[in-house]
Every structure is written in structure tokens, then in C-alpha cells.
Amino acid sequence: MHVIDRYAYASRIREVDPAYKVGLATVTLLLCLILNEPFVGILAIIWMFFLAVKVAGLPADVFGRVLLAEFTFLALTTVGVALSVTAKDPTAINMWAVKLGPLWFSSSPEALNLAFALLSRALGGTAAMNFLAMTTPLVDLLDFFRRLHIPGLLIDIMTVMYRFVFVLLESLETMYVAQKSRLGYRSFYRGMVSAGLLASRLFIDTYRRAQRLQTAMEARSYDGEFRVLPTTYKQSRQLVFSGVLMVSTLLLVWGIV
């Protein structure tokens, strides 16, 4: 969370209107899902990588590593699609089979194709969401939601939640270190006791903080609605241009294949 947040603030297209970034990412995600074509997914990944590194100025290895982590998760889930495990000899249905002990592991070109299609499709969409998350701070995203007239209450809750993720994380760390320095985690049993105490203490702390926040906001004439200034953003022709180019290449690939 901290890391993604930091890159989002440092991104070169941070000041670009979030509408562009949300639009670009959503269109890519939808194309990956709707066109349902492995090469579209792969091309989307390449495009997103290019946009994140060249246009937004994200370090290539950071974008790559996040994607790799997600790839691992997705690959693990698609193993089930690519491989079948049976007790009987499956060579009649599936093309390739290996016998390991009492079990047969088998697969077929169809199953592999399906797994590959699923993986590239999902990864293409994930890359698009990564691009959005790593170039747009949440505050800008909420600002965009507000412009879309999403109910204010939801946005207010998200605003406070996001702010308090960091506040509570800090108080969690402080309490954890304080417990540790008094040997709260010296054994497994003591560790469980301490973690329980920590959780209940954090709960009370959260409640009290919420009350103090409410008081502090009332002192500034809060009356049930968060009013904040809308941010002024820059337009980005570069992003629109790359977006149009990307969508055309994706559609082109889909048409050819």
C-alpha cells in the first residue's frame, strides 16, 4: 500500500485529469474481457508496460515485479484448468498423460489453450488496473468519483478510511513495538495473548479517534457532508493519443487473429 501510493504521487502523469487514466484503464480492461483473445491480452500488457514506464515514468522493474507477483497468483489458479488429475488412464480423452504413482496427470492442447487464454486475458486486465493504481493517487480517484456523482456518503467514507489506514497502521506499529520491547512475543503463547490485547486495544483506539475526529470536524462547522475543493488537473494529449493508438492496435490484432 505504502509503496504503490508513493509511486502514484511520484508519477509523471500525476497531475493529469484522472478521467483520462480511468478511461484508458477501463477501456483496456473491458477490451481484454470482451474480445477474449490471448494476443489482445498480451498486447495490452505490453502497452500498459510501455505507458507506465515511458509516459508515467515508473521504474520498469517496479511495474514488472508487481505484474510478476500477480502472474504467479494467476498462473497457480490456471494450473487447474490446464491439468487434469485422474485415477484412470485418461489417454483416450487427453493427448498427453504422465503417471505419477497411482495418479494420472494429463492435459490436451485445448486445455492448454484455454488456460493460456484465461491467463493472458486476466493479466491484461490486471496490468491496466496496475497502471491506474500506480499513476493515480486515491484522492484523485475519489475526486473523479465525486464528478461522476457517486453518492457523497460513499466517497466520504472512502476518504476517511484511506486517511485512517495510515494513522491506524502507525498506531498499530507503535503498540506492537511497545509490546515487543516488554517481551510480549517471546513465546508462541505469549504472542497470541499479546496479539489479542493489541487487537482489542486498537479497536478502542479507533473508536476514540473517530470521536475526536468528529469533534475536530465539528469545530470547523462540519454538518454531515465533506466539502472539499475540486482539484484542477492538466489535460494530456499524449495520453489521449496513446490511448487511441492502443485501442486501435488491440482491435486490429483481434481482427487479424
Binding site: T159, F166, T215, M217, V228
Partner: protein, 249 residues
């Protein structure tokens, strides 16, 4: 001396508690002074401050602002809170948005000002508190001293006549303290009244032009700092003399 805030026999009991946090407290806060409020932890400083702009309503007694008794309906409170701003001890309790600009704009927008005026106020308050370069930073990336100044800017953007600051210096380094004192002094030069809760003798002797001592929910002294230092029996009674090692003459 005209009193900007008056407390007449104010008593307050927190809901669900059986002892009074304030006991028939009597106080007149003079206008356009730098007021230091001292008193031990739990003596009622914070409770008193929360009465200043109607966040707490006295269980009995009355609070007056500029000679008028406080009215606790919505509209009256809004106008009161425009005149009296409170900065809280822990900036993390006050900063609700991850965006510094958004947080500072919150107060002035609640006053119903238009966007252009709010932008002007935000810029002005940010410049006044020397946080202009922090406006585009996320709140959670700020240091303690930076958060304190942003919290102050969020209150000053509402342009209050009275600024109430509850131990804002407590966890700040001397360098940040000086900058905050500088902000408070500039406010004072503009004719604003400042109430600052403190435990620091230097603040009382060198900064304040008026001192209020609170003990167990009541005001035991209010007046000029020199008068406090000269009041040997009071210093002995409150234990302040012994703690401060002041040459009491």
C-alpha cells in the same frame, strides 16, 4: 479591557461520569491578548476549550462571546465557529483527508464561501503557515511539525477572531515551536485573540500577555504574568512556585 469570551459559573459533567470536569468556572478572556492557559493534566483545560465554540454545552452556567450568550442551534453555531477556531493537540485527529489542499479547504467551504474565495483563503492560510510547498503532498507523508502547521492552516483559512490552541506544542521540536510561535505572534499583530494551553514556563513569561491558571475545573488565577509570579501564596498553593524554581519576590 473588553472581554471577548466570558464564562459565567460554567459547570460541565461528561455524560456517564459523576464528577464535574468544570466547577462553576468563572473567566473573562480579554480581547486581542496572547493568553496562556496552564494547569495540570486533567485540570479541565481541554474541556474549557471545547466550550469556547459550542462543542460542549455547559451543564449549568453560561458562555458569552462578545457579550452575547451562546446559542446552540445549528445556524448560530456555524457563525460562532467562524469566529472561534480550535486547533487540537494531535493533528492526526484533525486532518481527515489524504490531500492537504482538501483538508485546508474544508472549513472555508463549510462557511458557504464560493470556490474562488475558498481557493484564495487556502493559498493565503498556506502562505501564512508556510506550508505552500506541502499543498500537493499527501497528508500521511508529512512530518509531525508539518502536520501541526497544516492543521493550523486548516483553522486559519476560516479567518477566526479567536484562535484556541490545545497544547499544540507538546510533541514538537524547538525549531517547529518557534515557527508556530511566529505564526501566533503574527496573528496577534492582526488583532486576534489567542488562547494557548501550555506547560511551559517560558511561554508564560516570555510570550503570554495574560495567564489563566486552572485547577480542578476552576480558574484560580487570571491576570498578567507578572502578577502571577508575584503572588507568592498562590504559587505555593498551586505548587507552581516549587516546580518552576522561580525567584518569588
Amino acid at each position: 479591557m473588553t472581554a471577548i469570551l466570558e464564562f459565567v459559573k460554567v459547570s460541565y459533567c461528561y455524560p456517564g461520569q459523576d464528577h464535574f470536569a468544570l466547577k462553576e468556572l468563572e473567566l473573562e478572556v480579554p480581547a486581542a491578548e496572547k493568553v496562556a492557559v496552564i494547569g495540570r493534566n486533567g485540570s479541565g483545560k481541554s474541556t474549557l476549550f471545547l466550550h469556547c465554540n459550542g462543542l460542549h454545552q455547559p451543564t449549568s452556567g453560561e458562555v458569552l462571546f462578545a457579550g452575547q450568550g451562546l446559542d446552540y442551534d445549528r445556524r448560530a453555531l456555524r457563525s460562532l465557529r467562524q469566529h472561534i477556531g480550535i486547533v487540537f493537540q494531535n493533528p492526526d485527529d484533525q486532518l481527515f483527508s489524504a490531500s492537504v489542499v482538501q483538508d485546508i479547504s474544508f472549513g472555508p467551504l463549510n462557511l458557504g464561501l464560493d470556490e474562488e474565495e475558498v481557493r484564495r483563503r487556502v493559498e493565503q492560510a498556506a502562505a501564512f503557515c508556510e506550508v505552500t510547498e506541502l499543498l500537493e503532498r499527501p497528508t500521511h507523508a508529512l512530518s509531525g511539525g508539518e502536520k501541526a502547521r497544516v492543521a493550523l492552516a486548516g483553522v486559519l483559512a476560516m479567518d477566526p477572531d479567536v484562535l484556541v490552541a490545545d497544547e499544540v506544542m507538546a510533541s514538537l521540536d524547538p525549531w517547529v515551536r518557534l515557527r508556530i510561535f511566529d505564526i501566533l505572534n503574527r496573528l496577534h499583530e492582526q488583532g486576534k485573540t489567542i488562547l494557548l494551553a501550555t506547560h511551559d514556563l517560558d511561554t508564560v513569561t516570555h510570550w503570554a500577555t495574560f495567564v489563566v491558571v486552572i485547577q480542578q475545573g476552576a480558574v484560580v488565577f487570571s491576570g498578567e504574568p507578572d502578577a502571577l509570579l508575584a503572588d507568592k501564596p498562590l504559587l505555593e498553593k498551586t505548587g507552581l512556585g516549587a516546580i518552576w524554581h522561580q525567584p518569588v519576590s
